[in-house]
Symmetry: C2
Subunit: 251 residues, 2 copies
């Protein structure tokens, strides 16, 4: 039986690299990337150019859309091009090509504006005595984006909902926490929002493997952090996601 | 005492016209409009051009941002230019000019995707026997945008939240229902989502007059419709909004 073909945008990034090593044995991987990616079929193009990226989607079963401008201080023009237009183009190209599912790399930045207020501020600052009890934010909590980056991820999720409703495209949004190159927490805030490389990779794999009937959903992805404030119950219930790592291990 | 200066974008539209007649006696009105608007100081420019619109914001106390591409079938490029970039530009120009408050014309289209499913579908289709009971959607219900237009309004609300948090700009989002030129319902759906001209005008005036401490909020604006599904309690509690009209009057 033929393995599913999965197109990964932004494979040259940190999560893209981790995903590649993990999925290579189970999926037929392809890359859509601005820079060349060695060792997998790579279509070199910019997600901001719909016509240029369209050929990469031919014969693809699922897309993992990681490509984005990730800087919290990126200028508006870059966010607009890479994230706002880029995500529209990836969903539109997926629709045109008859792709079955898109896994969209959203971000905890859709809600991390809550870290401006207590008790989430205390958690993000590592002042745990100031945060004796807190309610986790769920995927249904009103968004509160941090930065234009966070705003652009809210846009992507809304677009995903529209494509699922209007075009039947299955789009699963993963609000990824802080994945680090060292693969360990590196700031006080990371003890709340860190996500290990293997945890994000397993989450994305669960999204790829979820039944076709899952048309649209939103999940947080962080490790099992003692001081986390992002709900993981929903991902556990729907996808069976159980993080293997925890930031607290590194204290 | 000097009256407040209010800049209205898109004054040549239906709501802009109604707003103008109502506010002219109480506010010093100005227009930012692509087409000329007679009888008020009008800065002619396109909201898609930040540098071109900036002069219109000088000395302005509050902005009512109505300008938008409103077509449910408008192409992506138009939505991107007029709504996505346009709303960023209006908020950014407001921030630079030290504007106190922006009232953002959001839309019920941020949630009208729920009309795809029961019981909201029955309400929107006028099949009232099929909808014996329903829970109103509130400003905290997860968005479910209809069309790229609805997606662009979710973007605007997220951007508003970011500007309120990061820059202290007060932005109030009004999810406007269906305002008609005839000023009465004209389809079965309107018996659920119609908003009379005087109801939307009063809502916007309440948003302009709300205390400075109201930094960010989201309200639905529809008339007091028997078959409505959009919560009005929040607007009543926070702003004292009481619709004067009701679609049912026209049955």
């Amino acid at each position: 039986m033929a393995r599913s073909t999965v197109l990964v945008t932004g494979m040259s990034g940190l999560i893209g690299g981790a995903l590649r090593s993990h999925l290579a044995a189970r999926y037929e991987l392809r890359a859509l990337n601005r820079r060349p990616v060695e060792g997998v079929p790579c279509h070199q193009a910019d997600v901001a150019d719909l016509e240029a990226i369209q050929p990469a989607f031919k014969g693809v079963d699922a897309v993992v859309h990681l490509a984005a401008s990730v800087g919290m201080s990126a200028p508006f023009d870059e966010i607009l091009r890479a994230n706002v237009v880029g995500t529209y183009n990836v969903l539109e190209a997926s629709r045109r090509a008859g792709v079955r599912r898109v896994v969209y790399a959203s971000s905890g930045a859709t809600v991390s504006g809550y870290e401006r207020d207590m008790p989430y501020r205390a958690l993000a600052e590592g002042r745990y005595d100031a945060a004796p009890a807190w309610t986790p934010l769920t995927h249904e909590t009103p968004v509160r984006p941090a930065g234009l980056y966070g705003v652009s991820k809210v846009w992507g999720e809304a677009l995903a909902r529209h494509y699922a409703d209007a075009h039947g495209l299955s789009v699963i949004c993963v609000r990824i926490g802080h994945v680090t190159a060292e693969d360990r927490p590196r700031s006080p805030r990371d003890f709340s929002v860190w996500c290990s490389q293997r945890d994000i990779v397993r989450m994305i794999e669960l999204c790829l493997a979820a039944p076709d009937t899952l048309r649209f959903d939103v999940f947080f992805a962080v490790s099992n952090n003692t001081w986390g404030y992002r709900d993981l119950d929903h991902a556990r219930q729907v996808l069976g996601f159980q993080p293997l790592d925890a930031a607290e291990t590194y204290r």
